[in-house]
């Protein structure tokens, strides 16, 4: 037993980033403008982050979105999603439906031993009225097998109603990577422009 504990500690130590040596000081992130065709939205995107989009899926679901993935990731991706949910999108009835489903778990709980959803807040982002949601959850990686491997995720979401449909600017990252990357998310969010 003692050996097993020692081995695990050893593994944790081996996996520690500190072994990689002192990291060079990060350069200031550079940004470039992005504008989605169709005039759905525009924003600044960090140059070193990977921009991903699946146009076919966007058309199928009438949800137009990009995903920005950080160059450095940990247990799960550090990602920012900027999405326009058109009025007749296939997944959510309206912004209230989105907020309701993203501010608690399937049992309607906001606090459990693996989940913590903060109360929804009113905000103003770039002169738009909107909402802020935040949560911290422990997610299983293999739900259909008996492996209990999990990852701790933090999420911050801005929901911005529009005359037709609504916008979502979402940031998701492993707990330890959330704070170091929050500034990038806020820069992207504050540069966001969508239809009224």
């Amino acid at each position: 037993m003692k050996n097993a504990l020692l081995n695990l500690s050893l593994l944790a130590f081996m996996a520690s980033p500190s072994l990689a040596g002192a990291q060079p000081k990060a350069r200031a992130e550079q940004y470039k403008p992005y504008s989605m065709e169709g005039g759905h939205f525009s924003c600044l995107v960090p140059e070193s982050w990977e921009l991903k989009r699946d146009k076919d899926q966007d058309e199928e679901y009438k949800i137009y979105e990009i995903e920005l993935v950080a160059p450095k990731s940990a247990k799960a991706p550090i990602a920012i999603f900027i999405s326009y949910y058109s009025k007749d999108n296939e997944d959510f009835n309206d912004y209230r439906d989105y907020i309701k489903r993203n501010s608690r778990n399937v049992a309607g709980e906001t606090k459990t031993s693996r989940e913590n959803y903060a109360p929804v807040k009113n905000i103003r982002l770039n002169d738009r009225k909107g909402f802020e949601l935040s949560s911290e959850t422990l997610e299983f990686l293999h739900p259909e097998s008996k492996s209990d491997e999990s990852v701790a995720l933090k999420e911050k979401i801005y929901v911005l109603p529009a005359k037709s449909g609504f916008y979502v600017v979402r940031f998701s990252a492993p707990r330890e990577e959330f704070a170091p990357n929050l500034k990038v998310f806020e820069k992207v969010a504050r540069s966001f422009k969508g239809r009224p």
């Binding site: 990731s73 296939e90 009835n93 309607g108 097998s145």
Partner: protein, 580 residues
């Protein structure tokens, strides 16, 4: 137009394909020229050209004039597009082992990618990345190097030889040169051997690492109980010197037979990890009986929900549930019987914590109904797999086990859990109260939460990226099988008639072939009857048939979820008015 001018035009088109894949442009000009350009560019493993070819219906139709060549080109194009799609996902240090599994399926001897020079030696992928994905972030490139188990990553840069014990062969040297000649499958096999002797290699196997962590957590609980002062000297002496598993078993027995003052949380941790006591074990005959009882109880449980009704529709003759041990999972669909097997250990764990015995269960319809509620999400999940298998059988087509099957099954399960959580108070109580001792219950709620939160579009990404990264996508599986089948059909064209005839009469039949995994099929092509190979080639050349089925199922699911949420939009909504 002269031949030289045409060649120049094809080369120019191929050059443009090399640069950008010509999303719109490729559909312009002469389809024959475009087809020739695609062939040229795909032969150099260009993923942009592959994607453009798959979108160019005109060129693909033209290619059909030579069905075998067309199938071969399609297989290569699907494989290249799939590889690019796979690598476009968010791969990082923490998901290296998932990426390893995904690449091991795709890059191996005689697979389409290897025929295109992207393998079978894994390092060839790195050269391909330099050429076709130079702008990938450094973290992703590092993840790929780890995923292919590059020598320097696994063994460091200080040595080019590793000595290891290899079964009865004794101590063996593995050199860097040996390693670089191995395919990923072989490298993983070597690493598994290394794990047995050196736990630092556990980082290369997520499942084994997680199991070790679980074991350490239970060991910590065991130490806590022993140090709590709640055990008598006699009880402590009973535990002394026993193996870890025996100590858990004995402690469980002590919890049942005496009043040991430790927290319920600690008791649950020990009880859920220990083996069942004799009274809690469901013997074979009682498992058979319970299966029969669950058929009725689960049917009742599924009725009244849209997802449940869809699950029941997979069993027109009634549910067919058996209870038996399932290795590494909570349930499985048994294609040979057309029934669902529920894991007896998962049920016994629930019984242990609830204090139910095999006898009490047999006498109590209420306890059976409780088990039915508890296990019903697993039944819904497996029903989707039954629907998939039945669909393939009814059309007589080959259905490989692919990510799309998991997306469909987990979406249906997620929809079911969401519906039940909203409509069935007792179901909600059972799952929420079981979470602390049962990972099964916590996971079923997680799937429901993820499906409800993300919607269909986002949930599919979660399944592909997190839950089922080790499975091939439909296009990968098709590419793999098509490549092998097409090569074999070409070989048979020059085979002596007598040999071919003997193979066609004594080879593997259609029914035997339909049961194979893509791997088995690709490696068995030389033993399969020719008409069967032609049939499989035809099936997998038309992926639209499969895709329209998955799309129809997804549409049904997302419509149901949207309607369900519309119905409850105001119930307990946490949405404040838009005020600021």
């Amino acid at each position: 137009m002269s031949a030289a001018a045409r060649t120049a035009r094809i080369t120019a088109t191929a050059a443009v394909l090399l640069v950008c894949g010509l999303r719109a442009g490729a559909a312009e000009g002469d389809p024959a020229d475009r087809l020739a350009a695609y062939e040229l560019a795909i032969a150099s493993a260009n993923p942009a050209a592959a994607a453009a070819y798959l979108r160019d219906g005109e060129a693909r139709e033209l290619a059909q004039a030579d069905p075998r060549k067309s199938a071969e080109l399609l297989g290569k194009a699907e494989a290249l597009k799939d590889l690019k799609d796979l690598l476009n996902m968010d791969w990082d240090d923490a998901k290296v082992n998932q990426l390893n599994k995904s690449l091991a399926i795709r890059i191996d001897v005689e697979k389409p990618l290897s025929l295109l020079g992207v393998g079978p030696e894994p390092e060839k992928l790195l050269s391909w990345l330099v050429r076709y994905a130079p702008r990938y972030p450094a973290a992703k490139k590092a993840a790929v190097r780890k995923a292919i188990r590059q020598w320097e990553v696994v063994f460091g840069t200080m040595t080019d030889t590793r000595t290891m014990k290899w079964g009865q062969a004794g101590w063996q040297n593995i050199t860097k040169a040996n390693w670089e000649g191995m395919v990923l499958r072989e490298r993983n096999a070597v690493i598994e051997k290394l794990i047995a002797r050196d736990p630092s290699f556990l980082i290369y196997n997520d499942e084994r690492l997680a199991a070790e962590k679980d074991r350490v957590a239970v060991a910590a609980a065991l130490i806590q109980v022993k140090n709590s002062g709640a055990l008598s000297p006699a009880q402590l002496s009973q535990l002394s010197g026993k193996s870890f598993d025996d100590q858990l078993y004995l402690l469980g027995n002590m919890f049942d037979n005496s009043d040991i003052a430790v927290s319920q949380d600690l008791k649950n941790k020990i009880n859920s990890a220990r083996s069942s006591l004799p009274g809690e074990v469901l013997p074979y005959q009682q498992r058979q009986l319970l299966g029969g009882m669950l058929n009725t109880a689960v049917t009742k449980e599924l009725s009244g929900t849209q997802a449940g009704a869809r699950a029941l529709s997979a069993f027109p003759g009634g549910l067919k549930i058996t209870v038996a041990p399932v290795q590494g999972a909570y349930s499985r669909y048994d294609a040979s019987t057309g029934g669902i097997v529920l894991d007896s250990e998962t049920i016994q764990q629930y019984m242990r914590v609830k204090g139910y015995t095999a006898d009490s269960l047999m006498r109590s319809p209420e306890q059976v109904a409780e088990i039915a509620k508890y296990m019903s999400p697993a039944v819904v999940y497996e029903s989707a797999h039954k629907m998939q298998a039945d669909w393939a059988v009814s059309r007589g087509i080959y259905l490989p086990q692919v990510q799309e099957n998991e997306i469909e099954a987990m979406s249906l399960e997620g929809l079911y859990t969401t519906e039940k959580m909203q409509k069935d108070r007792k179901f909600k109580d059972i799952l929420t109260s079981s979470r602390e001792f049962s990972s099964y219950a916590a996971k079923k709620m997680d799937v429901g939460t993820q499906y409800q939160k993300r919607g269909s579009k986002g949930f599919a990404i979660t399944v592909r990226q997190l839950y089922s990264a080790g499975l091939p996508s439909l296009s990968t599986a098709a590419a793999h099988v098509l490549g092998a089948v097409t090569s074999e059909l070409e070989r048979r064209e020059t085979m002596p008639a007598a040999e071919k005839s003997a193979l066609d009469s004594g080879g593997l039949s259609l029914s035997e072939t339909l049961e194979m995994s893509p791997e088995e099929l690709a490696y068995s092509v030389k033993e399969i009857q020719t008409p069967v190979l032609v049939k499989i080639q035809g099936d997998l050349s038309n992926l639209g048939t499969y895709r329209s089925r998955y799309a129809a199922s997804d549409r049904q699911g997302r419509k149901s979820l949207k309607a369900l949420e519309r119905g409850t939009a105001s119930a307990g909504a946490a949405v404040p008015p838009l005020t600021i």
